[in-house]
Amino acid sequence: MKKLGVSLYAASTVALLLWAFYQAVYVAPLDAMQGEVSRIFYYHVPHAMLCFLFFAVSLLGSIGYLSFRRSHTDWAQISDAWALTGAEVGVVYCTIVLLTGPLWGRRAWGIWWTWDARLTTTLVLWLIYVSYLLLRRFAAGPQVQTLAAVLGIFGALDVPIVYMSNRWWRTQHPAPVFGGGPDSGIKDPAMLAAFGWNVLAWLAWGVLITALRYLVERQNQKNLRREEQAALNA
């Protein structure tokens, strides 16, 4: 029954991704100013929005780990697995943002990169979470999870700065699509629908890979515990 549910969810996600792709490429009209290159927006913006969500999962997991590490070891391990999962999936989404953004920028602005506030703070966010993953991968010892949790919390502090960067400072990056004042928002209903489908599809995909990554980490924790137990019994 559980397997059937997972298969159904995975099949629905694939169908949703294909539908969202069709909407973005074949249904949504071209932007009058930018032409076809505006279609990058349907992948770039949903990934940017969703990477914040996964970093928020990492933040909650990190706070949970620090809260429970002395009182409830099992809860702390579960929280730590969520913290790692959120950081890793967030980095995947943020990587796509940093790769697709310059492709759009090259056609729209004539440059691959500029050190404006939105781009720079996003790069810093990516670097912080990559360093988090490197710490988890290469450091050893009993303090690694605690250090990673602290880094995860400090990394998350950059998320609101990234979000507000093109509101606080005059940037080359386009103004906010939503919540950026009276002129913000997508006016064309077909464009809005294509955008909405892509947000939904990549969210469903993100939930799927997050669940899978979480299960992998929990299995890893169980294996490590069994290995420690075996070493103690030897």
Binding site: F21, V25, G35, E36, V37, R39, I40, Y43, H44, H47, V92, T95, I96, L99, T100, L103, W104, R106, R107, W205, I209, L212, R213, L215, V216, Q219, N220, K222, N223, R226, E227, A230, N233
Partner: protein, 49 residues
């Protein structure tokens, strides 16, 4: 199709291909990691205590 439109199209294709490659690559890596963890669990289960 003029030169500008062709280039725009190529950039859109590149962005979409990169997105799918990164996401599917990550999924494949997760699949391999899951298989390794399961093998490790089986190995630890067999180990005499």
């Amino acid at each position: 199709m003029d030169q500008r439109a062709i280039l725009d199209h190529q950039f859109v294709v590149a962005a979409y291909v990169i997105t799918w490659t990164v996401q599917l690559g990550y999924l494949a890596w997760l699949g391999l990691k899951w298989r390794d963890q399961k093998r490790e669990a089986t190995r630890l289960g067999r180990k005499p205590r």
